[in-house]
Amino acid sequence: MSDTGSPGDEETIKRMAEDEAALSARLRALSQKLDKASEEAKAAERAQPSNEVNAQGMRLAFRIVGEFVSGVLVGAGLGWLFDRWLGTSPWGMIVLLLLGFVAGVLNVLRAVGKVAPPEARQVSSRAKKK
């Protein structure tokens, strides 16, 4: 297809150029995407902690789950006992289960050190009073 200059040829050339432009744009977008993906993978690899850190995180997770679930379980158990003994079903269960959730959250906050344990808090409040 040399440039001999018939109008049909010109049209074909124009279309081909457009196609090429579109293709190169797509290629550029794709390569950008690839760059981004590989960068993300690299960043993830950098952020990817070693096995040791993973194990630590798992231990922490176990601990926090245990703290929370035990609070809820004790609340549910106490509620069940209350209802059984006092015949207040279902109110004891409802109230104590909610309190159990609260206690579970308190346990978790204590486990991660956001709330002082009871003794420490009392000591600090005493110190404040003085």
Partner: protein
């Protein structure tokens, strides 16, 4: 059957011990593991202290290390007064540590992977805390549940939450130890099972089985770490709770 990761936790009854209160009691593999643990700990300490000398031998050094380790932990979180609980804390630490390590032997029951065992240990601690707290402080021990500086109107609510939080301690204490041991041993068994089932697939399987094998080796090392760490965590928390009994604060 060999690949069943739960199989290792099955209770096997060795021989019946008789009936108590309408219940049949058997000597099981779990009881054997606990008995062996107690025997090993007692034997070790007796052997290590039998020839007590100023310049410790190898065994005596290990025993002294264990003593110093537990004593330092107890002293740092419960103070000098906490040393009166030393026998309890040291027994707990040694029992859990040795029971955890026993579980690392193949074909050996891990006594601490059963919730009833860890719960009994946790209840021992909590009952000690409650009984000693009441003995020493009377009803002042209940001050633990009434924080200062809280408006009177919300004291019942806060106290209820504090009581539930206190009651949840033995559960979280026992579930942590039990969960860690159970999960660790199941993971180990699952990866070991991969090795066996892949290797039976032929030459490619044998090549592929190297990966789970490497993982199993790594996990075994991790399990040893967890076995020690869980015993330590149990001990530290025990010390913290005993501190509550000594100083309920008011």
């Amino acid at each position: 059957m060999a690949n069943d990761p739960i199989h290792q936790f099955h209770i096997q009854e060795y021989f019946p011990l008789g009936q108590f209160g309408g219940m049949e009691f058997h000597f099981t593999n779990s009881a054997f593991a606990m008995g062996a643990t107690v025997a090993i700990v007692t034997g070790f300490i007796l052997l290590a202290t039998s020839k007590a000398s100023l310049i410790p031998g190898r065994l005596q050094s290990v025993a002294e290390l264990a003593y110093e380790f537990v004593a330092n932990t107890l002293r740092s979180s419960a103070g000098k007064e906490g040393m009166r609980f030393f026998p309890l804390v040291f027994s707990l630490f040694m029992f859990i540590l040795v029971a955890n390590f026993f579980g690392m032997f193949p074909y050996f029951m891990t006594a601490t992977s059963q919730i009833i065992v860890t719960f009994a240990l946790a209840m021992t601690v909590m009952l000690t805390v409650v009984v000693y707290g009441f003995m020493r402080h009377g009803f002042g021990f209940l001050g633990l549940f009434v924080p200062h500086g809280v408006p009177m109107a919300v004291v019942p609510l806060v106290s209820a939450i504090e009581i539930i939080s206190f009651l949840s301690r033995p559960i979280s204490l026992s579930v942590r130890l039990f969960g860690n041991m159970l999960a660790g041993h199941i993971t180990l068994k699952v990866f070991a099972g991969f090795v066996a089932s892949m290797a039976s697939l032929g030459a490619i399987g044998v090549g592929g089985a190297i990966l789970p094998l490497a993982m199993t080796v790594g996990l075994t090392a991790l399990e040893f770490l967890v076995a020690f760490l869980q015993a330590y965590i149990f001990t530290v928390l025990t010390c913290m709770y005993l501190n509550d009994a000594l100083h309920p604060g008011h």
